[in-house]
Amino acid sequence: MLLPVKWLKDYIDTNKSARELADGLTLSGSHVESIKALDNGIENVVVGKVLKVEKHPNADKLVICTIDIGKEKLVIVTGAKNVNEGDYLPVALIGSKLANGLEIKESNFRGVSSFGMLCSLQELGLPDNVIPKEMRDGIFILDKEYPLGTSILEVLELNDQVIEFEITPNRPDCLSIIGMARETAATFNYKLNEPSVEIHNDVDDINDYTNGISVETDKCTRFYSRVIKDVVIEPSPIWLQTRLMKAGVRPISNIVDITNFVMLEYGQPLHAYDLEELNGKKIIVRQAEKDEKIFTLDGNERTLNEDDIVIADGLEPIGLAGVMGGLDSEITDDTKIVLLEGANFNSENVRLTSKKLGLRTEASTRFEKGLDPNLCSIAVERVCQLVELIGAGTVVKGSIDVYNNVKENKELELNPERCNKLLGESIPVNKMLEYLNALGLESAYDGSLINVSVPTYRLDINIEVDLIEEVGRLYGFHNIKPKALLGGLSRGDKPYKNMLEDKVKSILEGLGLNEVMTYSFISPKAYDKINLTKSDDKRKYIKILNPLGEDYSTMRTTLLPNMLDLLSRNFNKGIDSIYAFEIGNTFIPKNLPVKSLPDEKKVLSIGAYGDVDFYEMKEIVEITLSKLGIKNLSYEREENNPTYHPGRTAKVCFNEEFLGIIGEIHPDVLRKYDIKTKVYTAQLDFDKIVDLTNLEIVYKPLPKYPSMVRDIAITVKEDVLVGDIEKIILKHGGGLIEKLELFDIYRGDQIEEGLKSVAYSIVYRSYERTLTDDEVNEIQKVIIEDLERSVDAKLRS
């Protein structure tokens, strides 16, 4: 919402600067986005009169003008073609500055000295999109005689500032100059002077010109109409054009400009029809027929259906209700009789039509937000007044008003005690009355309650708490003294699962991993990229109905693709090593198509490339889980998972519970991700980890008796897992094995092809007594026998 300060001052009397107004309004709830000065740094540009235009002796395209600026006459050479003797126009004097920063100096054009420059609207700093089409090229010619030498900034009211507001959606009434004037008056305690509308020339009768207006749909709450005859279509006076341009609207011609002016002033969109173009001289507001067509003002043909509301004449649609007028009944230079429409349409209906047709207009955005039907007549009357003021036509007597359910003020009660209780302040009742009345909310105190009559333009005020907000914001939230919360002490905490999440992150950070964060949605192609089989459960994913694009279209059921994406990005940026982890949700549907909220299951995803190998990844997982009390994990080969390297991948289990997978990514997957180095990852079920976590630690006394160390070196077949060997060793330990350390795996010289040598150091200790050689030797013997029997091991000497 653009608010030119000079326009605002038509309705309130203030000396405050734009900055002061902006600061005050910000604190009372109208958020200021910017303040722009309109002078654009222009200096010394004044009104001049063209006395003479002569041909340039040496140049066909130039003319020599003699310009009177009051105190002197200047010779100025110009290339402009629209300059005529008698014109009043803006003259930039020597030493003046223009909006584009240009400084004017005396110059010589083919032997003729020029002492200044004639200016266009662009050079005066007006943006192209608001400059009238016919003024886009050439010098700006003023509409009438102004005192010579007057600053052009004054003539065009460019010595002004525009405050831009962000208006919240609950306050459509503030999308108007009067609305903002009302806020300003209430904020600073000024009197609001609304225009008093009087029409002088009531002649003939509206019914002589029209054959009536009928409204056949409840989507049109009101249709108010007047007729203007003897219309002369021409450009508006400069003051009117300037007002529009400053508020961001391009002037077109007098009648249209006035309707736009009143729309900006009151917020009510208006439309003017060329009455003589209306078939049957009548208006019917109705549902469109299926596939009914209309050519809108922008020249496009639109196809409608029963959900759209049209304004039709006796034959066909002439306007799309609340959105845009029709081309056929548009005001043209030849228009003589105008029918004015001030109407109110259902906001949802306008929104849907506008959205469906992809046609958003100033009118549609205003109707969408909601408007007061009582504004229709006020605005149309104001148009008539301005028509008379600038002499654009003669107002015909009478109006046609189709308005069935007249909207009345709402009567609300405000309990001052409740108001103060909610705000936490003690605002006196008389202050409350003052604030409410200043906002136009007529209020009176009956000794216990304040009775408030809410005007119809305040669509946002419906219950008591809405009134409390009004009191609060005019009192000023910034004036409310902070008060500490009372009541019993409450203990803050977070759920166990979140606490564990923090703990795991700390452990991984300590292990040198970097935390990453990726989107919850991924591309459906990701499931192919990681080679999932067609029947894999991870392919049962949830789709977004309206994704931003395919890449963001499915809710992830695995965190691996995101991990591989980011590893790939890093790899291809030349980063030689990265260790990363993410704890994030996967979305597992309970039903497909989705009928209820899915399960959101947390996954711990770890990924790394660089120096890492399988065993380091395994160690990272083991350390992390052991810190959570999950020790003695078991591993099973995972040979048939197409995402992973068949020989370097393991299922991680704890007491038969599957926790996840650790492994090297399959070269085929790496190729698709364009990663030319080995990648290791762990994908673990975090929810299960939470279930299994046991943070209880019970101190175990330090050993009092000495330990005994034995080494065992055996040869076994290559495919025997050390995990199986260890299971056998531990099985026979009788609880006396304190530590089992694999210190060597060897292949090569002295070892038969297809075999490997595996060497362990075993530490035996009892907490009750000193062990004897004999009993340890006996255990060793049983272990070796079992190893020979179970895994075909041979003891190395």
Binding site: R351, P482, S490, N498, M517, T518
Partner: protein, 340 residues
Amino acid sequence: MKEKLQEIRRLAIDSIDSVSNLADIENLRVKYLGKKGEITILLKGMGKLSAEERPIIGQIANDVRKEIEELIEVKKDKLNNEALEAKLKSEKIDITVSKKKSRVGHRHPLLSTIKELEDLFISMGFKVIPGPEIETVKNNFDDLNSPENHPSRDMSDTFYITEDILLRTHTSPVQIRAMKEYGVPLKMVSAGRTFRFDDVDDTHSPMFHQLEGLVVDENISMANLIHTLDIFIQELFGKDIKTRYRPHYFPFTEPSAEVDVTCFKCRGAGCPNCNHTGWSMELLGCGMIHPKVLENCGIDSTKYSGFAFGMGVDRITMIKYGINDIRLLFENDNRFLEQF
């Protein structure tokens, strides 16, 4: 014998003095004080002395023995110290050499900001309550008093899974869940992922993060809200930071306010960063919970009141670390991650 002892003493002193390593000094100890050492042997001949002489010579022998012992100990200490010093000297290294052996992990700046915010509120007695990323339209819009035809419900603003299920557009539905589950009194915060139909650019992302808070009890007022948020903001950004509560509009609170804080760059003086206003805009949205929202959650709005607030964590993180492009938070470039 006395002379003999004096002779031994003189010789011992000389040789101890001239010794220069620990092995030699040990030899000297054996030579003079050992079981077969000179003094021992000499003392064995004491029997031949008269009863008068014996104590006198004994005394002298003991004195000599003690003196030699002490001299040997002192010499030993001296040699030990010299040896240690020489060793230390030989172990001198170039302390400017860096060998990067250990890896250091880093927490993601946004997620650590969330943790920091949560911890702050926990210390103020708030409960952290998480909520799901996929929500019902009822929790995300209806029960929060969002107008039925509000544009934020459009498919051009919100990601839908079905007509009734969506990706939550804010963390506010957790308010609804918490009020329904825990009732009154309630003091909670909830942080997490939120989603809106925004194309990626340097300030927008279809996925972003919010932190939401709520207090419901008897007699909760706007003054309480301001007090709570002021403490929080000053804890987070520093005691010199001022706040400004501006009236605003949210469907789920009434009255509603936006909170501006002193510009972080210029600390209120005015700079290009804050458009010369001295304020960093819209850090937080807040307000008194709308009576309809309380009623929707089964809470008697004539008896109880509450306040709620919400903030964009991405923005707070970016302000905190001077990050100028939101995409950096989601790209996970290792060189970015390792800065935090």
